[in-house]
Symmetry: C2
Subunit: 324 residues, 2 copies
């Protein structure tokens, strides 16, 4: 078995030497630009870790890991156009750098190229990987649409929120693990357990992200604190607060959401106070722990010895223990 840092290093080497070569350059330069912007590479590492747990062939798994990262980056390119985001990882987004038309088209060609990286698989695995990938990819689009819908809605239920983050973010982590496991010949039961490990980890991560966006440490979180509150984003904190608040608290919360004249810093501080008073941070933290536990329980149900599970367990714990 490889350690996770070995897998991460091997992946990064493969990534850095796997730029898509093609013409015209105007189409492929944006592809290689977004792929070189960096990031945690969590999805490829999960794919390789799952593959390695079941004694898969690393060389066969690397193109699959790359395909998933290519898909993830395609979604970033198109999402950034939809969100009109100017920056991604401190650099220009693709549409800012190359214009919207090229960003759309480069994203499209990335999406098609994804399937090219599955070709080396034997027949049964080829079919299963495309099936698992396609389901997740469709759900990612559906999750993005749900997220856009939420912006226009007055209220969103916690269940709707959980489905949205599951589709938009978590299912691709599940698919990353399952695809790695398929390539290694794992049983369907083990594949499905790993899928659940990924989905629960993804949901827990997103809940944590909601908490950190309001209560994190700016330096370690890597973006400015309070952005979700300033934009009235329907996070699990706001959804729960709107459900729980009564009387003056409710009136105050609603006035902060609807009144655009309030000083942003005053708004962030006041809404955070309300969140603490209503104990929605505690509730979110409990929910985060529940999903974290769900992931670990599924992991420990795999037909594998503890030493095989340990690296992935450590990785999940490191993802989910960013300091609040």
């Amino acid at each position: 078995m490889f350690s996770l840092s070995q897998l991460a290093n091997t992946y990064q080497q493969f990534h850095d030497t796997s730029g898509i070569k093609g013409a015209p350059i105007e189409l492929y330069a944006p592809v290689n630009y977004i792929m070189s912007l960096g990031g945690k590479r969590a999805r490829p590492v999960l794919c390789l870790a799952a593959n390695d747990m079941f004694n898969g062939d690393l060389q066969q798994a690397l193109p699959l890991a790359y395909a998933i990262e290519l898909f993830h980056n395609f979604t970033l390119v198109h999402d950034d156009i939809m969100d009109q985001a100017p920056l991604r990882r401190g650099q220009h987004t693709v549409h800012k750098e190359y214009g919207t038309a090229r960003a759309i088209l480069s994203g499209d060609v990335m999406m098609i190229h994804v399937y090219e990286y599955f070709k080396h698989l034997p027949d049964a695995a080829y079919r299963q990987v495309i099936s698992v990938f396609n389901k997740a990819a469709i759900e990612v689009c559906e999750g993005q649409q749900m997220d856009m819908n939420f912006e226009d809605r007055q209220t969103v239920s916690l269940n709707e929120y959980l489905q949205m983050i599951s589709y938009k973010t978590a299912v691709l982590l599940g698919a990353s693990l399952q695809i790695g496991a398929i390539a290694a010949g794992a049983s369907l039961t083990d594949q499905q357990l790993l899928y659940k490990v990924g989905v629960d980890t993804g949901v827990a991560f997103q809940i944590q992200d909601d908490i950190l966006d309001s209560f994190g440490d700016e330096a370690s979180f890597g973006k400015s604190i309070g952005g979700d509150i300033r934009q009235n984003k329907k996070t699990c904190l706001l959804i729960r607060a709107l459900e729980l608040a009564t009387g003056d608290d409710k009136a105050q919360l609603e006035s902060y959401i609807t009144n655009n004249d309030i000083d942003p810093e005053e708004k962030v501080a006041a809404v955070k106070q309300l969140y603490l008073k209503l104990k929605v941070v505690d509730a979110a933290e409990a929910m985060r722990l529940e999903y974290h536990k769900g992931a670990l329980d599924a992991l420990h149900s795999l037909s594998l010895s503890a030493d095989k599970i340990e690296p992935l367990e450590n990785y999940i714990n490191s993802l989910l223990q960013r300091q609040v």
Copy 2:
């Protein structure tokens, strides 16, 4: 064997009852909107005709024909955003009707759904179809980028133009025929001949479209005449004219291209006169006939009797004999 009108009718029935059902509705309404706007359905008909020539199972070929039409419509949705086109087939384009964000995302989910319609194929055909489809789909994106590049360039060679229209338009016609043939178990030689039939037909069709845009009959062509000339579009006529013109003709042609103050109707009339004087219409017509002949020669090289070939031959001739 079925007649082409039987295949077209059967396809349209399948098409009309195959809308993608999914949630959220905001994501799938634009998909079903563009798919219901109509069109010739040339690609699905070609796919079914090729399948039927080799005694394929119509029920197995219908989802493949639908997948290709789905892909084609996905490219229309995204191309219309890139071209900022307000109308498509007399109706709002998807981004005009639903906004750019939903048009991008709906296009993306169409693209992923394409692969779902290949799933029923047996292993070998499944792989071959995805391989042929992916190559064409990637080339369609590359062709669209070439087309966008040409707008910013001073000169384009005839060979560059032919590669662009081949990629942007023709390869998908070739792939439609080849995919139908794969599903019917045709030999690789026959598959490749049919691919050439489609590509040559597509190139001939596009050259014809360039001629009709300047010299067609407005009523039968279906759009206003002279649009390419007004927009300085680098058609095979303009490219050839810029190569052939000398002296005053060259100066006049270049002034029409660079001078935005000229009355559009005067410009269209004068450039058409120059095209006739330089005999570029005759040259384009000769090129169109050459590709038309290439398609028919490849068709007659198939390992099939004349009666099997006849319906597709008639269809190609009908596509390529729109009146100038």
